[in-house]
Symmetry: C2
Subunit: 257 residues, 2 copies
Amino acid sequence: MDQNNDRTRTARPSPLHQRIRSDIEARILSGEWSPGYRIPFEHQLMVEYGCARMTVNKALYSLAEAGLIERRPRAGSFVRRPTVQSAVLAIPDIKAEILARNEAYRYELLSLRKRLASKGDRDLLDVPPAATILHLRCRHFAGPRPFALEERRIVVDEVPNIAEADLRTEPPGTWLLQHVPWHSAEHQISAVNADAAVASLLGIRIGTACLMVDRRTWRAGAAITAVRTWFPGDLQKLVTRFAPSSAAGAVSAAETR
Amino acid sequence: MDQNNDRTRTARPSPLHQRIRSDIEARILSGEWSPGYRIPFEHQLMVEYGCARMTVNKALYSLAEAGLIERRPRAGSFVRRPTVQSAVLAIPDIKAEILARNEAYRYELLSLRKRLASKGDRDLLDVPPAATILHLRCRHFAGPRPFALEERRIVVDEVPNIAEADLRTEPPGTWLLQHVPWHSAEHQISAVNADAAVASLLGIRIGTACLMVDRRTWRAGAAITAVRTWFPGDLQKLVTRFAPSSAAGAVSAAETR
DNA sequence: AAGTGGTCTAGACCACACC
DNA sequence: GTGTGGTCTAGACCACTTA
């Protein structure tokens, strides 16, 4: 009835299900078990490790979630072909990002107006014509230099208390992050040449390559905001380190060169 | 002793742990439970749903993995503040990507040579001076137009059978994906202006903004390959749709404009 | 028909933060 | 001390694929 055959006796190792997971992962990463290989059945592993099936199950479930194996209900579990195509990227909150670098952060509101949704707004945000949109542009500075230019639309009807935010001093993204509960988001990342307006506001030459990040955010199916951000190409890089071991929680960071 | 209080009687609903998860997720997404809120204890939920604690545990564990809640061992489970900062991005295998668009794919090897690792190679790939590097450049076409330019280094010692690959006809990335078991990777995404060489090879004007993707790949701790790819900025966008509900498995795709 | 993974149960012991 | 989540057990029934 004592369930910890090992853990009560030995030092203080990681949980058994994690050890099982790591063991299998190591064999997959090393290539010992290559794609298509059928890993031992739950029943076999449970004998091998002297544990209950649910413990093995937890390990395999986790490997499946990470994309390392594929579980086929009546056939077994198989090593998947690698798909390095996906990576968890950090899309930074600019203010936090700059502060994290120990640079002085400054924010500047360039323009702000409230109006009815235009055709473009409706396409972008899928809101009714009667919706009210807050449209603004602002800049973020790292030290003395413009770090990013931001153009944002906010669906006022979805976030009525935006009126309480002082957007002349507080970045809209930061305010929204603090005050809007939860959301899903879509990102698009592309490279563009700075036009005259963007170049002038970012203090770079016309034509300089910029990383442009478009993000749309929803809460419970309703669009809340759409934002387009330009970063001078030489200032910002999106970085990700991706290890299958932690696919879900892969940590990433933005860096400067 | 009949464990499926609902499932044996009713139609064929989703597993109970998923329903529990969805119920809680809905309340978080809608804002009913806002960040910091302490959700019911496992014990309460298990009474509410009339199930065992492990079933509730599975639901909460999954929510925690997705980043929606935070579990504090002796305090309870709390709704987390949103962190839209991270997103699962698709870094496409170019050949697959082009074919998926129903465009004709063509590959062209520009240069190929084998040599000892240079200082730059060693910094990039962390290999000993004696390592042999395969250094190549190639182009990928979508229909008649150059779609991407690729510069790649391969650590021959780690992938000796690369010799069997006919790199004049087969893209190295595709070959590696097929033949190298499993790996971790690091990506860096940035925007650069095309220099004369890049512009000429991509058939664009000098200075055109390009999306530049750097990837390094390891297997079992040893670097295998490093690749730098340029995409004309107007041809390629990296897209991701991210819902907290499926953080781990978020689907994403690359798109053209 | 055998055997797989998917799901679930009704308990258990543990460490430890908080009360 | 109480009560939390973390972990684990030793079973169970199920649908269904594969052999």
